[in-house]
């Protein structure tokens, strides 16, 4: 079956999304991570808009606009300001070396595609083939959260995971009901602000945003 032109673009953007997830895994600088996060948001927003246009699902336009506003402009802007204020833009040393992380990442992608296969076969949407990619980027973001020890990269990993979930919702079902999507966006927004406050508290107390200082609470 030949894909229509807009769908090819969506597939291209999906591939880009996966590529960015890998780029995030290999990125050492926090500012670089924020930029990648913004680019990922842009790809997500564009692909949502194209799906909306080609399938006539108008509520997806709102989601696309919401993603564009929050994840491409508001949050990266806020993160850049935090980085400047907290003066933390140095190299981040992951806890596992980057080549190893990339290899684990490849395994995760294969796993995600296998997991998504039965579901995407059942899906009636034209974008179902991208579901595997969405799941892969969720898992890759999860991997990034595990391998980073600094606070901001962990949060960006968390947000990238949310991006992946959002993409999964778009490709499997043309997005969640509007009221839910608004709610999720509100939660993410509040969460980022709570974390902003939180970063300052951590910084004040520990003189650093490195979470290695935070390993007191363990079962002995």
């Amino acid at each position: 079956m030949a894909l229509s032109y807009p769908l090819q673009v969506v597939n291209l953007l999906a591939a880009l999304l996966l590529l960015i997830s890998f780029a995030m895994l290999s990125q050492r600088r926090i500012a670089g991570l924020v930029t990648l996060f913004a680019v990922q948001g842009a790809a997500l927003s564009l692909s949502t808009a194209i799906v909306a246009w080609s399938t006539g699902q108008h509520h997806l336009y709102y989601s696309a606009a919401l993603t564009l506003g929050l994840k491409v402009f508001a949050m990266p802007y806020y993160f850049f300001r935090l980085i400047r204020k907290l003066d933390v833009d140095r190299d981040v040393e992951p806890m596992i070396t980057i080549p190893t992380t990339m290899l684990i990442g490849i395994v995760l992608v294969i796993f995600a595609f296998n997991l998504a296969m039965p579901i995407s076969q059942m899906s009636g949407t034209v974008t179902r083939s991208t579901l595997g990619i969405a799941m892969a980027s969720v898992l890759l973001a999860f991997l990034m959260m595990i391998t980073r020890s600094k606070a901001i990269p962990q949060v960006i990993g968390f947000l990238a995971m949310e991006n992946g979930l959002f993409f999964a919702a778009t490709s499997a079902t043309y997005g969640m009901p509007m009221v839910v999507e608004m709610g999720v966006a509100l939660d993410v927004l509040v969460g980022v602000f709570v974390l902003g406050i939180f970063f300052f508290q951590i910084r004040e107390t520990f003189d650093s945003l490195d979470l290695k200082h935070m390993e007191k609470l363990k079962e002995r």
């Binding site: 039965p118 709610g183 079962e219």
Partner: protein, 484 residues
């Protein structure tokens, strides 16, 4: 109508206290808002008992049946008594210089918003909004856990945020899968995630998708229930936050998370027609009970110890719900109630004890019975109650759970009995010297606010001796809704 009051009061309380929460009488305002919420909850409960389940608003945005109205009543009640307890407690914390006006304002405002989020999670009919409000409840409490700004409390709050965030992201994926299955039957749009609509067509939902969805939902919400092995955040968050926060986290939030799991389970059971969901829950529940019991033995911090005890009891409830059937579901609901009331009472007593001793280490707290008999007896009776000594209500529910397990899953009983025995020995062995040990500490200079403790324990005692018929009917109706 009551439902709008129920959600509107705590929400406006949150806004009001965000603006004026640093006033001298903010604790009283906090208690007042909680009291109004309780009245609204009581009115709603009365209506449900009289008229049965109902949906409210638009296409049925809210859905209230005996199962969730029982949790609404419990939540509003414990939220009110906790606000009474927190009134003098937080004042003394301020006098000790651990808190200032700004943080008290944050505390009072977040407290009300937290209650509003939990009540929304309980009453909403939309599985998506359920997710949103669970996440909102987490966000409202993150800054409460780190309220003291000590290194340990910041670490606990960070762990709480990240672990629950990751957990709840799994639940979001589960919800997406649920919507994916629902959309095929109900068509796309806002109504496809409404629980009442889903419940009507649950047998037509695609089983493979729902199976996968339930795994994600259980892992996601299970993280918030504190099920092992996803429980790591719980002891830290309970131990490092202020005591009123520990009481509501332990007594209420865990219940609400389990409620979310149960709502999903009913749908999945209908679609699958197998015991897959129940078996998974039994597995997680049993693991939590056993693991927590053995970890209790190693604790030195009193709030941490009771946090592990919460994991144990939530594990027990999860196990009971996993077994399914009328008796086990009834016992699970009863145990949920007993645990909420008893555990929050214990945290109130522990709060005063640690505040006085200036430490949470059990070795440094001795002879409470001499320094203040009320606190001493409160803690001792609470401990006896939570350990399941008759005639307290916890005994009744644990007895029901274990006898049902003997009937239906005999292999599980040795594990349960062993875990309960270990927990009994460790907790009793540690609390006994705290209450009756030798001490040279002076008597407590102020009168502790322990009325809530004895109200809670009185209720637990009453329910252990005699469950009023209307209450029993109510529990039975709720248990039936869970597929009893």
């Amino acid at each position: 109508m009551e439902i709008y009051w129920l959600l509107g009061i705590p929400l406006s309380g949150g806004v009001f206290l965000a603006l004026w929460g640093n006033r001298r009488n903010a604790p009283e305002i906090n208690a007042l808002f909680s009291l109004l919420t309780l009245i609204a909850a009581a009115a709603l409960t009365a209506r449900i008992i009289e008229h049965g389940p109902m949906t409210v608003g638009g296409e049925g945005w809210f859905f209230i049946d005996p199962f969730n109205v029982f949790l609404v009543a419990l939540t509003a009640f414990v939220a009110f008594t906790t606000s009474l307890f927190s009134r003098p407690y937080m004042r003394i914390e301020k006098e000790h210089g651990r808190l200032n006006d700004k943080r008290l304002r944050l505390y009072h405002s977040s407290y009300q918003i937290f209650i509003a989020a939990m009540l929304l999670a309980l009453t909403t009919n939309n599985m998506g909004i359920l997710w949103v409000s669970m996440e909102a409840a987490t966000l409202a409490t993150v800054l409460l856990v780190s309220l003291y700004r000590s290194p340990a409390s910041l670490e606990a709050a960070w762990k709480y945020f990240i672990l629950c965030g990751v957990g709840i992201a799994q639940a979001l994926f589960g919800t997406i899968l649920l919507y994916f299955a629902a959309e095929k039957v109900l068509g796309s749009g806002g109504t496809a995630l409404l629980w009442t609509h889903l419940n009507e067509v649950k047998t037509q939902l695609e089983p493979t998708v729902l199976q996968l969805a339930f795994v994600f939902l259980l892992v996601g919400y299970g993280t918030k229930v504190g099920l092992a092995p996803l429980h790591n955040w719980l002891p830290d968050a309970h131990a490092e936050g202020p005591t009123p926060v520990s009481a509501v986290l332990s007594g209420l939030l865990l219940n609400v998370a389990l409620y979310a799991v149960m709502r999903s389970k009913v749908l999945v059971d209908g679609a699958l027609g197998t015991d897959m969901a129940g078996n998974l829950m039994m597995g997680f529940g049993l693991l939590s009970v056993v693991l927590a019991a053995f970890l209790i033995k190693r604790q030195t911090d009193v709030k941490r110890m009771f946090a592990y005890s919460s994991i144990e009891h939530m594990g027990l409830v999860t196990f009971a719900f996993g077994m399914g059937g009328a008796v086990a579901s009834f016992a699970g609901l009863l145990h949920m109630t007993m645990h909420s009331l008893t555990k929050s009472a214990i945290f109130f007593a522990v709060g005063h004890a640690t505040q006085k001793a200036g430490t949470q280490l059990m070795d440094d707290i001795r002879g409470l019975i001499k320094t203040n008999p009320t606190i001493g007896w409160g803690l001792m009776l609470g401990t006896i109650a939570i350990l399941g000594v008759p005639p307290f209500g916890v005994f009744a529910s644990e007895f029901l759970i274990i006898t049902t397990a003997m009937h239906e899953h005999p292999w599980a009983t040795p594990f349960l009995l062993l875990a309960l025995g270990v927990a009994f020995a460790s907790i009793f062995g540690k609390v006994q010297p705290m209450v009756f040990g030798e001490t040279e500490m002076p008597r407590l200079p102020y009168q502790p606010a322990l009325t809530p403790v004895f109200i809670h324990l009185g209720l637990v005692l009453m329910l252990g001796l005699f469950i009023p018929p209307y209450l029993a009917t109510w529990y039975r109706q709720a248990a039936a809704l869970l597929g009893g």
